[in-house]
Symmetry: C2
C-alpha cells in the first residue's frame, strides 16, 4: 500500500505494547488517524495510555459497534491513511477480515501487518510441536445453563487423529469478563457429561496457560479434576489438551509445565 | 529470565529485519552474545548485515551442526546472556525446542520471545478463518524419485473434516534450495497418482503464496493444473488447500487471491 489513503491493519501481539513489530510501529506512526479495537481480543499487559506513548500519537478506541458497522473507519480511510490496531494477529478475528473485504470492495487499499498470536505462542510455551495441532476451538461462557458440546467433540476428534488441541476462552471485554482456565475446565467436564463421553476419565492430562508472553506467565499441566480448582491468576488464559506425545514433548511438559510423570505414562 | 546468564530465543518473523517485535529488539540489545540460525527457516527479505545494523550489535551466524550439537551455545549461556535469533517463531522448529530443554536440564535459564509466523500469516493473507485449519503438513524435495504421500493424505483428512490445510515447503538453506509453490504442486499431483487418489480432480482449487509479509508478496488461487506451470518468483513460498468455504471466505479468495468464480462454486 503506497498511496496516501487506505486502511492498515496492525497486529499488537499478545501481551503489551512491546509486542508490536518494528514494521507495525513504523506503520502506525505514518498513519494520519489511528484506531484501536480491544473487544475481539485484549492486550492485558498494557493500557491505552502506554500504547499512545509508545507510538507517540493519539489512538481512538473503538466500540464493538464502531468496528462491526465499519462506516466510520471506511469513511476516514477514503481520505487518509488509517491504522487499526488490534491485539494478536489482525486477521485472526473474522470481523477484521470482513472489514478488509468491505474496504477492498469500496476501492480502499488495505495492508496487513501481522502480529504475534496466541495460536503460535501457546504451543511454543509448552514445547509442543506446532504441526501436531488440529483445529482450534473456543469455549464460551455458560449462559443460563446453556453451552454447546462442539468444543468437546473437536478435541476428541483431534486426539483420535493424533493431534493436540488449543482451546481459546471466551472474552467479553466490554463487560470486563474473561473466561478463566479453571472455569473452562469445569465447562469441559460439563460438556463431557452432557455428551455422555468418558474422554477425561481416560485422558485427564490438560494444560492451563495464563498471561503467555508476559513476565507473569503461568503454565500448569496436570489432571483436569485437580487443575479445575486452581487459580490461574489474571487473564488472559487458554487451554491445551495434548494428543499422543512424542518423547521430546513429554520432556517439554515435564520441564516447562511441571507435569506429574505418572500422567504422561499413558500418552 | 532476570539473571545475567541464560539463553533467550528471539523470533525474527517472516520477511525482514523489521518483523522483529520491539520486545525482541530490546532483548537482543541486552544480550552479551548474539547468534543467528537460518537453516530451519530463512529471512529472505533481509541480510545478516542489515540485521546487525538494526540491532546495533555483531551477530554470529551458526551452522546446522552448531545448533544441533548446541554445545557452543550452551557453554556460552552458562556465563552470559546469549540470544539466538531465528526466523518465524523461535519454537516452531523442533531443534530449538530441543535446545531449550537441554538448557533447562543443565540449569540454564531460558526465555522465548515470540515472532510472527507463517502459520498465522498465510491464513491471514488469504482471509481464511484460522480456526478452520487442520494440521499443517510439509512437502519435501523429491530426491531420486522418492517422496512420501503423507502430505497428500493429511490434506484429504483435513478436507473431509471441513478444514483447510497449510502446506509448508522444504528448505535447504545451506544449499540455497527452496522448494517453490509450482514444484510443490507438481509433487502433490505425483502424490495423488502414487496414492491412487482423485482429490484434485474433484477439488482442483489451490492457493500458492510467495513472500508473504513483504511488499513483493504474491497470492495466486486457481486450478492446480494451471497454477503448477506459473512462476511464483523468489522464495519463500507456501501453499494452502482450502476446505469447504464459508461465504465470506469465498469472497476473500475472490478479492485477495483473484480466484476464478467458477472454481468456488463447488466449495
Amino acid at each position: 500500500m503506497h498511496g496516501k489513503s487506505g486502511l492498515v491493519f496492525i497486529g499488537l501481539g499478545i501481551n503489551d505494547e512491546m509486542d508490536i513489530t518494528v514494521k507495525g510501529l513504523d506503520a502506525a506512526r505514518e498513519c494520519g488517524c489511528l484506531f484501536s479495537e480491544f473487544y475481539t481480543a485484549a492486550l492485558m499487559g498494557s493500557t491505552p495510555e502506554r500504547l499512545e506513548e509508545m507510538i507517540g500519537r493519539p489512538v481512538i478506541s473503538l466500540t464493538r459497534e464502531d468496528v462491526e458497522s465499519g462506516d466510520l473507519i471506511l469513511e476516514k480511510a477514503k481520505n487518509e491513511r488509517v491504522g487499526l490496531l488490534t491485539a494478536g494477529d489482525p486477521m485472526a478475528a473474522t470481523t477484521h477480515a470482513d472489514l478488509r473485504l468491505r474496504a477492498e470492495n469500496e476501492g480502499i487499499p488495505t495492508e496487513v501487518i501481522n502480529g504475534i498470536s496466541i495460536l503460535v505462542a501457546a504451543p511454543s510455551a509448552l514445547g509442543l510441536q506446532h504441526y501436531k495441532f488440529g483445529r482450534t476451538t473456543t469455549i464460551p461462557f455458560v449462559e443460563q445453563g446453556y453451552f454447546p458440546t462442539s468444543p468437546y467433540e473437536a478435541l476428541i476428534k483431534n486426539f483420535e487423529a493424533g493431534l493436540h488441541t488449543l482451546v481459546l476462552l471466551d472474552i467479553h471485554s466490554d463487560e470486563g469478563r474473561y473466561l478463566t482456565a479453571d472455569e473452562a475446565m469445569k465447562t469441559l467436564l460439563l460438556m463431557e457429561k452432557k455428551a455422555g463421553g468418558n474422554f477425561f476419565e481416560e485422558h485427564p492430562l490438560i494444560c492451563g496457560l495464563g498471561r503467555i508472553g508476559s513476565d507473569a506467565a503461568v503454565i500448569r499441566c496436570g489432571d483436569i479434576h485437580s487443575l479445575k480448582e486452581k487459580d490461574f491468576g489474571p487473564p488472559l488464559h487458554c487451554i491445551v489438551i495434548p494428543g499422543p506425545l512424542h518423547y521430546m514433548e513429554k520432556e517439554a511438559l515435564k520441564i516447562l509445565g511441571n507435569t506429574p510423570e505418572k500422567l504422561l505414562d499413558d500418552y
